[in-house]
Every structure is written in structure tokens, then in C-alpha cells.
Amino acid sequence: MSKQSSRKHAGNLERVDDIRWRIARTGAMRTEGLIFLGDELVESVRNDPCLDQVSNVAQLPGIVGPSMAMPDIHWGYGFPIGGVAAFDASSGIISPGGVGFDINCGVRLLRSDLELDAVRRSLGDLLNGLYARIPAGVGATRQDIRLDPKAMDAVLSQGARWCIRQGHGTERDLEFIEDRGCIEGARPDQVSPRARTRGAPQLGTLGSGNHFCEIGYVDEIYDETVARILGLELNTVTFLIHTGSRGLGYQVCDEFLPVMLEASRKYGIDLPDPQLCAAPLDSEQGRAYLGAMAAAANYAFANRQLITAQLRLCVEQLFQIGPASHRIELVYDVAHNIAKLEVHQVQGAQRRLCVHRKGATRAFPPGHPDLPAAYSQIGQPVLVPGDMGRYSFVLVGTQMGYQETFGSTCHGAGRLLSRMAAKKKAHKRDITAELKRQGIRLRAASRATVNEEMPEAYKDVSSVVDVVHRAGIAKKVARLKPIAVMKG
């Protein structure tokens, strides 16, 4: 079942314009590949098997439009990270390889009325408080929330709404979460006892690796009107949370891979790579995976909601203020590992599609009915975190993106160095002290995490964001600078 890394399509990358590149349709490809890349990123991608993965996805049945990749493309399992592909709801497929192990890994941005100087003065206490309240790192579990089977069913079917009903947030929060924090059609019955066992003690935990909780502020604004509607002004204190569905989501993916492999054989789906194993959307296996994936996605929405509740409590306790004073409010919460049933215009006709976004963010345009009313004039916020030493970006979706990429854009910086290379680069250095000298406090579970997640291990996220901005598939609104980072 090993993947072939022939890099056979690397030479076929043809320039369309200064940021669009095409892989022509050849062999078993049903459509062409379309990749958004700046010149500075092209060479690193040319030597990466991710281009073959774009071509492989183009071979799957029912694909509509090109097999796409965003500028943060890199090698993934089956689909590339940064991959976007839409499949017809009647004749197309769904593939766990197009979603990833961490179902509904995503980002949540909160803004506040806290004063930046006051936060800076108490930064150490705030960071320690968050670290005490939000379990993070290897083996992290919540002792105060124990999900019995009935509560787990409620989390899986209701997502963030379950948290609100339990008092962990407000109705307003739901308004500003993708799908209001609950994907319809979740099937808790398709989430196995093993997945439930892994997930039960982990709800409300951050995890490890590239997951984080970050305190920052708005340091640059590109579109004042849009930023104001999002509640963002220069020096507004922000909180960014990046995590997903924890062990529950990983287990769901794991267990569906053999099911989908068998389904691929049964339904005669030719697989250029076994990790693209898939089932027709309109099949028992396809419906089962969609239901299980939605349930895991709802768990992830609930996870980020519970972390938000802890964050608010921490601020309230430290500064001895209430919600009316801190006004820590959701700007938005996006999923960047998910497949969704959506209606799109394709060559003048409305079609129901299953849009896979793996390491890619939904970016709906102004006026889209799925947007919160407050954002109907500006489009959906897109949250693109960078590394812990530089900055992150807030963008909004555009009409051009809706037409060209099914309303999708990039999701992050993408790694530049392997963990081994990062470890070597960090040798004899104190990354925590270096960040502190830059005004960024860091608290992490281990030195290994700090070294492997060092800023230089990632690409400069601005090079990714600039491409989607120039391409017109999302529009830059604001830049956020970190002042404290909590890593698992």
C-alpha cells in the first residue's frame, strides 16, 4: 500500500498567469489541476510529490471543476495538504483522504475590549492561567468533564450547541461559527466505541504539535471598513485557538480507511493511490462516513467552544472583570479539514457538490446565505495562522473565489523544515528566550515541541496570504502579532 512518489507531474506544471499554474489533463485524469503559487514557492513545490497528488485527485470519479491546491500546498496522505476538490453529489465520491485524520481541525479567532498594555503587564499570569485551565500536550485530558454515552451522543449530534446548553458560552457564539457549530446529518451511531473512548476525556483539550492558543493584537489593517465590522482595530487584543477533533477524529478516520478501501473495490473506483480510497456519496459507505465525519466535526466545534469558555474564565479571574468589560467575542471559527455538501453554480447551473477542503478554508463571498447577518456585506472571515514568532492573518471570502475555487482559500504557513532539521537548527539555542526578547512569551509542554515548532520551521505565512489576495480568491483584512503562545 505504499505510495509511489514518481514526481511524474512535476515537469508538467504550466504557468497560466503570475500566480496560477496548471497541470494539463493526461492519462486517467478526468480534469486538469489548478495550483495557486507565487514564484518564490514554485521551486519548492516542483520537487515535491504533492503535484502528483493533485493529479491523482483529478482521477477520482464525479470530480467537478479542476483538482485545486492552495499556495500552502504540501505532501499529505492521499490528497495534498492545501487541496480542494468538489465532487457531484449524485455521481461523485467522498474520501477520508480528502479530509485528513484530524477531522475539523480548525481555527477560532476571538477579539476583546482588553487593553493591550494591561494584558502585557499581566502576560505571564495570563499565560500561566491559560496553561492551568486548558489541558495541553501529550496525554492531556479534562478531569472536570466526563462524557457518559448520552452526553457524548449529544456532543456528536449538537456540536458547539451542546456547550451553550451546558453554560459554556452564549447564543451569540454560535452565530459566528461555521455552520453555527453543528454540521447537519451527524450520525453518532457511526462513531465506534473506540473513538468514543479516546474522545471522552479529551473534550476541551488543546493537543500537541502545531496546535496552540495564542494571545495577540491587531498590528496592521488592510481594510478598515471590513476590520471594523469584525470588531478589529489597531491594538485590539485577540485570542487565536487552533485545534481539532483530538483522538476521536483520528480514530474515525483510521477506522473508515479499510471500509473505503473495500468500497473502492466494490464500486470499481480506480485508485492511483490507495490513500485516496473512497466511496460513492450515494452509497451506504459514503453516507456512513459523511455521518461519522459530521459527528467528529461537531466534537471539534465543541472542543474549541470549551477552550473558549476556559479562556474567558481565566481572564475574568485574573482581571476581576465580567463579560461586559472584557467583551471576548468570537470573530469567527473555521474548519480547515472537512468535506461539505454545498450548492454551487457550475457553468450556469446550480449543482449540489461535496467540496473536500484538506488544509484549506471555506471562504464564502458577501451575500452568501450561510454567513452571519453581521457579515453579509463583507464575506466570510478566513483565519490563516502563521508561526509563533511572526504573524497571522484575517481575510474575507470574495465572489471571485466563490466562482473559481468553490469558495475556498489557504489555511496556514506550512512547514519548511522537517522536525529533524528544526531540531538541528535549534541546537544550543534557547528558542523560548529568543522569542521573549522579541516580546513573545511562550509556554510549552516540552522543549522538543518548542524546537520543532520554532518560527524558522515554517514558511513566512505572508507569502501564502499574498498569493490568495493577489489571485482575488480572498481579501486581506488585518494582521495579528502574537505576544504569548501556549503550545501543547
Partner: protein
């Protein structure tokens, strides 16, 4: 039962890729289990707990992935990590006896969370000559490994 795992890290930008070595197929399973422990945590101590696993799969690749998935589940749920491993293969049936320590996040160092064991770039091969390696060797280990496996952990 105790041995030093025979493996090395290979370059992989996003995740962790390792190459396992062994004189026998079962060496790969033993080294893989111990390597996983080293990737997840360090400084483990405390009371040892015995856990056994039986895996029945037709190919070495599937046996390797399934064993590690079992161990990962055991870690996620019971926080147990193997520190000594003995594997026996009878046809397609792999029997693995482990001695585990309990990871305590308050006392031990958690290094990395493994999300999943993948089939990505997975290969298990038997070769006449071993690929060039800088893997550690223990004293009673056969000098020329003839089995090796490449494996990627999603982290």
C-alpha cells in the same frame, strides 16, 4: 525482553518518518513499538504493567500498522507505553508481549502526540544487504540486518 530499538529518523517535512532494521521480521515489530514510545515521551518510570496483543493480518505492513494502532489506542486510553517488547510470529498471527510504564503528564516529559499510524510510504522489505544506517546497536544484536521497514507517523 529489553533491547534498544533499531531505527533512525528519516527526513519528512510535515510528520515523522522512521526506518526500522532487524535480523528478523519480529525485530521490526519490537523496534517499532519501542520507537513509538521514544517519539511520544521520555523519562518514564514507575511500576511495570504487562499487556499482550494479538494481531492477525496477512502482510507484514498490515501487521506493523495494526500493532502500532493498538499500542496508540492503549496509550490514548490507559497512558501505557511499552518499554520492553517480545514478538512472535505464527503464520499470519503476531503475538506481542509488552511491559509498559504509565505516562504521567505531571511527572514525565511528553514529547509529541501521534495522531495516527499511516500507510503513507510504508514498506516492509527483506534485503540481502542492509541500507546504510546510523541506527543504534545493542551488544547482542546481529550486525547485518536484513529486514527493514519505512513508516510515517502523523503528528
Amino acid at each position: 525482553m529489553r533491547r534498544i530499538p533499531q531505527y533512525e529518523w528519516l527526513e519528512h517535512t510535515a510528520d515523522i518518518k522512521i526506518r526500522l532494521h532487524g535480523a528478523r521480521e519480529t525485530d521490526l515489530y519490537e523496534s517499532a513499538a519501542l520507537a513509538m514510545t521514544e517519539i511520544i515521551a521520555e523519562g518514564l518510570d514507575g511500576e511495570e504493567i504487562d499487556r499482550s496483543f494479538t494481531i492477525c493480518r496477512p502482510t507484514p505492513e498490515e501487521r506493523l500498522v495494526e500493532l502500532l494502532r493498538e499500542l496508540l489506542f492503549c496509550f490514548d486510553v490507559h497512558r501505557l507505553l511499552p518499554v520492553a517488547v517480545k514478538a512472535h510470529l505464527h503464520g499470519d498471527q503476531l503475538q506481542v508481549a509488552t511491559r509498559c510504564l504509565t505516562f504521567d503528564p505531571n511527572h514525565h516529559v511528553g514529547l509529541r502526540e501521534i495522531k495516527a499510524i499511516t500507510y503513507h510510504e510504508l514498506k516492509v522489505e527483506r534485503e540481502k544487504a542492509a541500507p546504510k544506517t546510523n541506527a543504534r546497536r545493542d551488544q547482542d544484536y546481529i550486525e547485518t540486518p536484513i529486514w527493514f521497514a519505512d513508516l510515517v507517523f502523523d503528528v
